[in-house]
Symmetry: C2
């Protein structure tokens, strides 16, 4: 007996209704929700103020409170994103792989919703609307488990979601929020395989690990990105520097940020010095393996203070901060060998003018996203043209990298015969 | 520390080589293997004889021994299946979803192998070759855990697999067999998520449950099929009877066999009597709910002895034997409601002349395979035109129903820029 059996049963029942909902109806719910985020903003912001005050009283860090906080501009941004999702093509209903078989049956596959998705996330109320919208758009049902710090905000947001679902004639149970703060409820959720088709953890590596360890429901894990760029001898150095900088400093706290720069030995001295010169201005510090240190040579004091020898774990660390590993490699083989050993198969790239080397890299490095002459920061649903993303997968089953609307679907086999039997 | 870390690391290294292997090379390995099953048959059959003798000495049932036994004809059949797999189209390498984005990057997805598959199965040596062949064909790596009763047979078969891999210039570690009989090794295998991308249990429901409960590696579970046919009032009864019979009796021990027949009340009396008359000749016994019993009326003694009242669990039981549940329903809605409550979402069908009703059923019943006027027995990789199958999934993530070669692949994102940065 699972304490969430009733939640699950209601979700499954709603999933059956959602599967039958027309695209217009699903889109209507999103339009209504976008409008309600405006008309109900006073209520939502008041609830959010209470959450913020409580978090402050508990001594939460400012960065935490910043993620928790909503204001009129942020609500308007969330509403705009809703309309973007509403406008994306309907991923459901297409029939494909049609064939008629020798037995006489006609077979096809038809795109259907994944079903019931459970999403576990932290204290970011925007994720509540984000997931609700993606679920409604794709005919799925969402069971939401947000951080307990956002309970009041989430309740106010859910009230708007219910109103939008009501208005569109869709079941309220299509979006359910677990409000009981008991943490052991997450364990129950992870074991609700009779009713839940997929658990998506949205949060740090620790949450992903916890889900993988404890779930009997299928999980899509992501989390760690130890990302590499390999600067080949043939690369245009002055064109490469902005790419390296973009990958490292544009948003260092995220999983697609650069962690290690590999540099071909023939250009190591010049390239490494240029990288250190440029990125030092952004506050980056460096961990250099011995050949990189050697190639850098004698540095002015202010730069020398920024470069430390790489420790034994440094190339297996996701920095999530303004730290960059530096390593000299003898050629493409050595670069790929390093990546195979240390990458988490998230995002890895090559900077080169040599098309043959580039294609070798792209075909041999088996990461979720592989790059030629581009920043690793593009590993993101919107940047890769998906319009939205529900998660970024670093596992290989079902979906890799950013998961958009089509990745929130599955298919069923539809077989039509004329009273046909198997021989 | 996991005892299988070394096995896993070798598998991962082999996976990198397999990803780069040309289709010709993979096909060459299968042709060599097919030939070796002939030239090495004496050795293989001698090893299998030892397994059979040991199983007999342990008092195994004849049905068990039959699954374990190889002979020259069965080896030839396995070799023929190998050549069929060899001839299927290469599922790897296609690029799709190509687009150029406003940022200037060119994005595409490319089909790549899933990676390292662990397959846990019972005492069926044919599965060893089956999985090895499917893995090699699709550029994947397989870690095999067969039943301990088949250890000698599997070793002899693996010797042939190694020889075929050697001959084709592919790594031996592409197919590894866990021969340590220690059962706790399965637990280690299920937790080898650093190296294994997917666990496929091939066996009964108990094995699937065990894997779901204990794995940290993604698992594709299958197992239970509680399958339904709904006989509508408009169906051609004489054409429907052979379909019902085929679904129930052709191979009652498998998951796509029929478990429950639902009959529209308007034709219940005539249809149920015809079904009982016909299937009784095959040795079928029946579990009838009260309306079905009523509709059947007074039966001759020999038939009456075959019909028992349905117990409370009967419609939630996968019979795997010559038992059939019978129920009268008032209309399509009632049939769908019964299926939603009792089906395991494996294979469910409607028998009807009414196209509108049929399409309603096909769209609303969300099982892995839904049928109109055909036997549920078609839920099978070969029958649905996949050429081969590695498993039948009853979960919704990644693949539903029979998994063929394309379902043994995933994709990576390939991004090409011109020193492009994210704005």
């Amino acid at each position: 007996m699972n304490r969430l059996d009733e939640v699950g049963a209601r979700a499954r029942a709603a999933a059956r209704q959602m599967t039958r909902a027309a695209h217009d109806q699903r889109v209507d719910a999103l339009h209504r929700l976008a409008e309600l985020l405006d008309t109900e903003s006073a209520k939502i912001l008041a609830a959010n103020d209470d959450d913020v005050a409580a978090a402050r009283a508990e001594g939460r860090a400012e960065s935490w409170i910043d993620r928790l906080r909503l204001d009129r501009a942020r609500l308007a941004g969330i509403a705009r994103d809703l309309l973007t999702v509403a406008d994306l093509p309907d991923p459901l209903g297409q029939a494909y792989d049609q064939r008629r078989l020798p037995s006489g049956i006609a077979v096809e596959r038809v795109r259907v919703p994944l079903g019931v998705l459970a999403v576990i996330y932290e204290s970011r109320p925007n994720v509540t609307i984000d997931i609700a919208a993606l679920a409604i758009k794709t005919g799925n049902v969402a069971i939401l488990r947000g951080g307990s710090d956002t309970l009041r905000s989430n309740r106010a947001l859910l009230a708007a979601v219910y109103q939008a679902l009501d208005g569109a004639g869709l079941p309220r149970d299509a979006v359910q929020l677990l409000i009981d703060p008991d943490r052991s409820l997450v364990n129950d959720l992870l074991r609700l395989h009779e009713y839940v088709d997929l658990v998506i953890p949205r949060g740090g590596n620790e949450l992903h690990r916890f889900c993988r360890e404890n779930a009997t429901v299928p999980v899509i894990t992501g989390g760690i990105g130890i990302c590499h760029l390999y600067l080949d001898a043939s690369a245009d150095l002055s064109a490469s520097l902005p790419v390296i900088r973009n990958a490292k400093v544009q948003r260092p706290s995220v999983c697609n940020a650069l962690d290690t720069l590999l540099v071909h030995e023939r250009v190591a001295a010049r390239a490494l010095r240029a990288v250190v010169d440029l990125l030092a201005q952004d506050g980056v510090t460096f961990r250099a393996e011995p050949h990189a240190t050697l190639a850098l040579g004698a540095l002015p004091n202010d730069l020398a203070a920024r470069v430390a020898p790489a420790g034994p774990q440094d190339f297996d660390t996701e920095w999530l901060s303004l730290v960059l590993g530096l390593k000299v490699v003898s050629d493409l083989e050595a670069a790929i060998a390093h990546i195979e050993q240390h990458s988490t198969a998230h995002s890895d790239g090559i900077l080169t003018e040599d098309r043959v080397l580039a294609e070798q890299f792209l075909s041999r490095v088996d990461s979720a996203a592989v790059y030629w002459n581009a920043s690793t920061r593009f590993t993101d649903g919107a940047q890769l043209g998906l319009g939205a993303e529900v998660a970024v997968s670093t596992q290989r089953l079902h979906a890799r990298g950013p998961m958009g609307l089509p990745e929130m679907t599955t298919y069923k086999w539809v077989i039509r015969g004329s009273y046909t039997t198997r021989a």
